[in-house]
């Protein structure tokens, strides 16, 4: 069977992993829909508004990005542009080296995953500690996140307790509170020792230069409190026009991500420590990462950049839940990843991940839950069309050619013949045919009896009856 890579991965997935994902996503789906239904009478209206707010900023990024840069500089922030992930790495490793620190604390950032930042800092002899609990476990296990909000959704608490025991963080104990206390104790000294802290940015306001950072564990705040230098890494699409867009976007982000009404912490950072502030970083840098984002702006898939990384699309996606985030072979899994994954690879790398857009029934559940109203099924179809046009190997694997269908469907005489002669299918051992497509269908499904031609004959006889 010439099937696609995501399907092959899913079929080999450990059942314990699948159950962990099923349980984790089910919980969030329920919390999300409960909170949203209770709080908003016109959720679709809000989703559309939030989509417009995001799209407005993206459609005018040529104005808002330089404006954000000016405001950030006015606030005493040093601004860097990184056209590529490699350049962003150079900038960040340069800053870390210059600081002389050996320890860096990191809070959760998907952009930093694009850089594989923690590992690259380790390469230059710097301990870059992931301080989000889930990411910390990922780091202990030398694993990769499988979800953008819940990075260890594929693990059980027993798995986590095992990892802690293995890495000298106490004897096996899978009580979540014990696990959390142990992580806290371990991290505390690191927070105090770190000279640099690296965060992501959920939004950056072009109006004020404020950087919004959302966490539930307070780890970004603790990082800021302990470090001398703050580096915020953000995709260029994180810029929003105005501060007053934040209440809407934060309200939808947090409710969609976890079903909470507000996350435990929302930082609004407007620059390095001022003269009147007793503590906080004395230096702040914002690194804007492009990495093929500017190619998406203004194009046919431009809406994908609205994404505010809530993870609702993957929670709701039956394909994601069957296959796990790791099936998507990159930083962004689930429906958003099927579009963003190949596009962020750029012109040359598109084909490597083009098959991800095949991993969807186009059922539209993702589009329905997206808080910024991204038309995900349409974008997935567009990526498929590009993949077909460019003839990507990964995207075409297991996809039957449309040649014969096209011929018959454009010639009604042939079509009517095919309808009649299709009845031979009723006599063929279809399950045994050595055709990939046939086996892919018939191994697990039957087909109803072919009855082509009957309706048309009925219609004719009825018409003749009426005419007579």
């Amino acid at each position: 069977m010439n099937r696609q890579a995501v399907d092959a991965f899913a079929s080999g997935l450990d059942s314990e992993v699948r159950q962990a994902i099923e349980a984790g996503t089910a919980r969030v789906i329920e919390n999300r829909s409960h909170t949203l239904a209770e709080d908003y009478s016109d959720l679709d209206g809000l989703r559309q508004l939030a989509g417009q707010v995001r799209q407005h900023a993206l459609d005018h990024l040529d104005r808002y990005l330089p404006q954000a840069e000016r405001r950030l500089r006015d606030n005493g922030v040093q601004v860097h542009y990184a056209p590529s992930a490699d350049r962003a790495l150079e900038i960040i490793t340069g800053l870390v080296r210059a600081s002389g620190t050996r320890v860096v604390t990191k809070s959760k950032s998907m952009a930093s995953e694009e850089l594989d930042l923690a590992r690259r800092l380790a390469d230059i002899g710097v301990e870059a500690l992931e301080t989000d609990l889930g990411e910390f476990v990922i780091q202990l296990d030398d694993d990769h996140p499988s979800h953008i909000v819940a990075p260890i959704i594929h693990k059980t608490r027993r798995n986590v307790a095992d990892s802690f025991a293995k890495h000298g963080l106490g004897d096996f104990d899978d009580d979540p509170e014990v696990i959390t206390r142990r992580a806290r104790r371990f991290m505390r000294d690191k927070f105090l020792a770190a000279g640099v802290t690296i965060t992501g940015a959920n939004f950056i306001s072009a109006e004020s230069g404020r950087v919004a950072i959302v966490t539930n564990e307070g780890n970004a705040r603790f990082g800021l409190a302990g470090a001398d230098i703050h580096i915020a890494l953000a995709g260029i699409e994180k810029v929003i026009a105005r501060d007053r867009d934040l209440p809407l976007l934060l309200s939808l982000l947090v409710r969609s991500a976890t079903g909470q009404r507000i996350s435990s912490y929302v930082e609004l950072v407007s620059g390095p420590r001022s003269a009147s502030q007793p503590s906080g970083p004395r230096e702040m840098h914002v690194v804007f990462l492009d990495s093929n984002r500017s190619r998406i702006v203004g194009g046919q898939t431009r809406e994908i950049l609205r994404c505010i990384r809530c993870g609702a699309c993957m929670n709701t996606c039956p394909v994601y839940r069957q296959s796990s985030g790791h099936a998507y072979r990159g930083v962004y899994p689930g429906p958003v990843g099927t579009v963003l994954g190949p596009l962020l690879k750029g012109e040359d790398g598109f084909g490597e991940l083009a098959d991800l857009a095949r991993a969807s029934t186009l059922c539209g559940a993702c589009g329905d839950v997206c808080p910024v109203n991204i038309p995900l099924p349409d974008l997935i179809a567009r990526v498929r069309a590009r993949s077909h046009r460019e003839g990507t190997v990964s995207g075409d694997a297991g996809i039957p050619s449309m040649g014969g269908y096209s011929l018959i469907a454009r010639h009604p005489g042939l079509w009517r013949l095919a309808m009649r002669f299709g009845r031979v299918l009723n006599w063929l051992p279809l399950r045994q045919l050595p055709l990939g497509v046939s086996r892919a269908w018939f191994t697990s499904r039957t087909l109803p009896r072919w009855r082509g031609g009957y309706f048309r004959r009925w219609l004719r006889s009825r018409k003749e009856g009426q005419d007579a």
């Binding site: 696609q4 039956p318 857009a357 029934t361 186009l362 329905d368 309808m419 499904r445 087909l447 309706f455």
Partner: protein, 254 residues
């Protein structure tokens, strides 16, 4: 799914698109579609040159082929009369997907015109003809399966409303009713494992409430579900909504 603003209905002439699956497998559903439209007072034309809406090629990403097939469909269903489709997903292919696949093409206006004339069958009955009660009776415990291509369209409410008016028809609630059954056109053969797992979950959820029939405005979903159930050795009686409406009318006459 975005439904375009449709042209107002003038007269009672309609063109019926039966869908390729009804053409090949489900002739009785196609017959029932003709009969209920006539019962609702329509003059029904069924163009014999109709083939397929082109959705298979759209989802496969082969938009050149998709446009060729859709052009043929637009030619067959030319003229001012509404196009009523006995399938939610084929209707959506014409009113939602065609305008996307034809961006930048010189005949985009032709497809936009087709989009404004295209209706899923129950949406047409309910919202174009204003049928809010379907007289008839049918003693059955039924599950309604809403095909994913009817998300965000008026079809879901129309199917529910029409079924609600039928005496003796009991509609059962199913767990995770909104979840896709895993068909997805080419997806079912490019991702057979995931598709099958999704299909088995759907079939198990539906059979858990022991329905007499499973009703949908889309035979494609029902064909997939029945195919999955068939390999598992389970009976899975499927009915197109048109068959339910027709049978209910006949039951009402008795």
């Amino acid at each position: 799914m975005l439904t375009p603003d449709r042209n107002p209905i003038q007269g009672r002439n309609v063109q019926l698109m039966i869908s390729c699956l009804c053409d090949a497998f489900f002739d009785d559903a196609a017959k029932a579609a003709v009969e209920i439209l006539q019962q609702a007072g329509c003059q029904v034309t069924v163009p014999s040159d109709q083939t397929c809406c082109g959705q298979a090629a759209y989802t496969a990403g082969d938009w050149e082929t998709c446009r060729q097939v859709m052009r043929h469909t637009a030619k067959v269903f030319a003229g001012p009369d509404p196009v009523v489709v006995a399938s939610g997903s084929c209707a959506a292919a014409l009113f939602h997907e065609a305008p996307i696949a034809f961006e930048g093409e010189s005949d985009l206006p032709v497809m936009q015109d087709l989009a404004r004339r295209t209706w899923e069958l129950t949406d047409f009955l309910r919202n174009a003809l204003g049928v809010d009660q379907w007289a008839g009776s049918l003693a059955a415990r039924a599950v309604i399966h809403h095909g994913c291509h009817t998300r965000g369209t008026a079809t879901r409410e129309a199917v529910r409303t029409l079924c609600a008016g039928i005496q003796g028809l009991e509609i059962l609630d199913v767990p995770d009713a909104d979840q896709c059954c895993g068909f997805g056109g080419v997806f079912s053969v490019s991702h057979p494992y995931i598709s099958t797992e999704m299909g088995r979950k759907k079939v198990t959820d539906v059979l858990s409430v022991k329905p007499d029939i499973v009703i949908s405005a889309d035979m494609s979903c029902l064909m997939h579900q029945q195919g999955i159930a068939g390999r598992l050795g389970s009976e899975y009686p499927i009915r197109h909504i048109a068959q339910v409406l027709r049978d209910a009318s006949m039951g009402g006459l008795e």
